[in-house]
């Protein structure tokens, strides 16, 4: 008995050890960023290791007071949320159609949607720039919303489609004989049933959107439409040189919103990531 109990304790210890090691491996860059961001600039570029760093809010004051970081943050959040809303509004009906109706060319259309993800973004960068210039949307967060939505639409559609395929057909037949129209079936039966999938797709879309750099740089030519990811680039040039502590702090701030969202919906997310793949 005693030896059994001990081995179970050891087991638990090993388990924590492995998971703890993995967690610190993943979190180390984040903590490293935070530590750089909260140190004076002079301490960062010294060749000698510093064991007791000095705490400093220089970078913090700098990004908020010398730079319109609040505005960039607002731009980021607005563009990302807007793009996810556009994605869901388009992807849910598209996925419903792809998963539930049979018509000629359905599978081809599904593949076309997915194939938009396969080309290198740089190929369409110039056409997209001219497109937005011609419609007068350059330098606006509306353009960013549309671009982010376009980038993620295929992914979001396919994730949601795979969840819809897992819903038994019987459920819809039941709703239909109960007197529900197609739209009500979608709204009252399908969407609630695949909510974890919708959340998963949204979070993945948010992560891609917040990290988007190329198109943002093209479209946002003035600080009016700068986002966090483009703002980072501002700290690398100019007469001040590379401002590492500001870069680190902004990078941390860009990481934070998605991190918090994931933390809040963790339960749905872990269920969502497996539910689509494995039939319950």
């Amino acid at each position: 008995m005693a030896s059994l109990r001990r081995s179970r304790g050891e087991n638990l210890f090993i388990r924590y050890l492995i998971l703890g090691a993995w967690a610190s491996f993943c979190l180390a860059p984040v903590l490293w960023f935070l530590s750089i961001g909260l140190r004076p600039r002079t301490e960062i570029i010294t060749p000698q290791p510093i064991y007791w760093p000095t705490f400093s809010l220089d970078a913090w004051h700098m990004i908020w007071e010398d730079w319109p970081m609040a505005k960039y943050l607002r731009n980021s959040v607005a563009a990302i949320i807007g793009s996810v809303v556009i994605d869901l509004a388009l992807a849910i009906p598209a996925a419903y159609s792809l998963s539930r109706y049979t018509y000629r060319g359905r599978d081809d259309i599904g593949f076309y949607i997915l194939s938009t993800r396969m080309m290198a973004p740089a190929i369409v960068a110039v056409p997209i720039f001219f497109l937005f210039r011609n419609v007068g949307l350059l330098d606006s967060i509306w353009a960013l919303m549309i671009v982010y939505a376009a980038i993620n639409l295929s992914l979001v559609t396919w994730i949601i489609r795979s969840y819809m395929l897992d819903i038994p057909k019987e459920l819809e037949d039941a709703a239909r004989t109960d007197g529900a129209s197609d739209l009500r079936i979608l709204w009252e039966i399908i969407i609630p049933a695949i909510l974890p999938g919708i959340i998963t797709a949204s979070v993945i879309a948010m992560i891609f959107a917040i990290n988007e750099f190329l198109f943002t740089l093209l479209i946002a030519s003035t600080p009016d439409a700068y986002t966090m990811s483009v703002a980072l680039a501002n700290f690398t040039g100019g007469s001040d040189g590379v401002i590492y502590n500001a870069i680190a702090l902004v990078a941390f701030l860009a990481f934070l919103p998605v991190f918090l969202v994931v933390l809040l919906i963790q339960k749905h997310l872990s269920r969502g990531l497996t539910m689509g793949a494995v039939k319950g």
Partner: protein, 348 residues
């Protein structure tokens, strides 16, 4: 509350036939069971009545009105599914109320009707649970409540009991039949389980390969089968079907001899006799050796090997025998069936 007529119903998907030449009239308040092996077209026929599939040809009428092209939600039909099909995000209460909401039943009426339906299936205590928190039997009762709550013209039940264990199934059979009698609603019930068909049906429709084999009351189906398929499908263990030939009213097959048949013309036939119409006897129609003995408590199943043929029979519950023991079996002369060997059709 509704009469259903099926006229020359056909269902094809490309070259694949689902259902062919189905003609059937289901009377008002009747309980009709579609019985057949899987893939025989029984569920497809039901789905066409529900409006979830359109027939390729033929008409479906309810109370004389043609239903072709009318959407499922506009037919006053309620369906119970094999997998229950409860809405997982809603509580049992919301599940049962769903059809009332969809059909714009006044809010003031909804609550009372939901509670009455739940009471009929003894689910009143579980109304605020989600389907996932219910057992299989409770889920099936919830699905039943959702079907009865709006008092439809027609009930359709697609193998509703096949996911339940034997004891619960017996229980639910009684309950379903009771509710159907009480509400007096025309019911179509699909199953591959002959016991369910025999116990529930006013009339059974036996189907195979998309076509109706026989329509009749349970007694007719059991005592007067139209062909070898029906004869072999109904009854457990199934009817013994022995291929042989007939001449001068005498049927012979290897090791088997039956005299005194009324049929005079000669030729190959199949003789059918049910296991319960075979008895062990001093002077029998066949001599064979005991191949298997299966006591079940209330009856003992015997398998007798006669020539190349295995004959099943039901013996007294106390009967025991050694394997290989030689016995004689007598067939009840009143309860023999003859079938055409080629077509399988009954010859009288």
């Amino acid at each position: 509350m509704a009469e259903i007529e099926l006229h020359n119903i056909q269902k094809r998907w490309g070259a694949v036939w689902g259902v062919r030449d189905v003609n059937l009239t289901i009377a008002n308040e009747e309980f009709v069971v579609f019985l057949g092996p899987s893939g025989c077209g029984k569920t497809t026929t039901m789905r066409m009545i529900a409006g979830l599939e359109e027939p390729s040809e033929g008409d479906i009428k309810m109370d004389g009105e043609i239903m072709n092209g009318i959407d499922a939600r506009d037919r006053d039909v309620a369906m119970v599914f094999q997998g229950y099909a409860l809405y997982p995000n809603m509580t049992i209460y919301e599940n049962i109320r769903f059809p009332l909401r969809m059909r714009d039943v006044p809010k003031s009426e909804q609550d009372a009707r939901v509670r009455r339906a739940a009471e009929m299936v003894e689910l009143s205590d579980l109304l605020d649970r989600k389907p996932a928190a219910l057992s299989g039997g409770q889920r099936q009762r919830a699905a039943l409540a959702r079907a009865i709550v709006r008092q439809p013209h027609v009930f359709l039940m697609d193998e509703p009991l096949s996911n339940l264990d034997t004891k619960l199934r017996q229980n639910m059979r009684v309950q379903i039949k009771h509710i159907q009698r009480e509400l007096k609603i025309t019911t179509v019930y699909v199953t591959h389980d002959q016991i369910e068909a025999m116990t529930l049906a006013d009339r059974i429709v036996v189907m195979q390969a998309g076509a109706i084999q026989q329509i009749g009351t349970p007694d007719e189906i059991y005592n007067d089968p139209a062909n070898t398929f029906v004869a072999g499908f109904i009854g457990a263990p199934p009817m013994n079907l022995i291929e042989g030939k007939i001449e001068d009213g005498i049927f012979t097959s290897e090791g088997i001899n039956v005299q005194g048949l009324t049929r005079r013309d000669a030729g190959p036939v199949t003789l059918g006799v049910r296991p319960e119409d075979c008895t062990l006897s001093e002077s029998g129609n066949l001599v064979g050796e005991v191949y298997g003995v299966e006591p079940t408590g209330d009856v003992t199943y015997l398998t007798i090997k006669a020539g190349p043929k295995m004959i099943e029979l039901k013996a007294h519950r106390d009967f025991r025998a050694q394997l290989g023991e030689v016995v004689q079996v007598r067939f009840d002369p009143e309860r023999l069936f003859l079938f055409d060997q080629k077509t399988g059709e009954r010859v009288r």
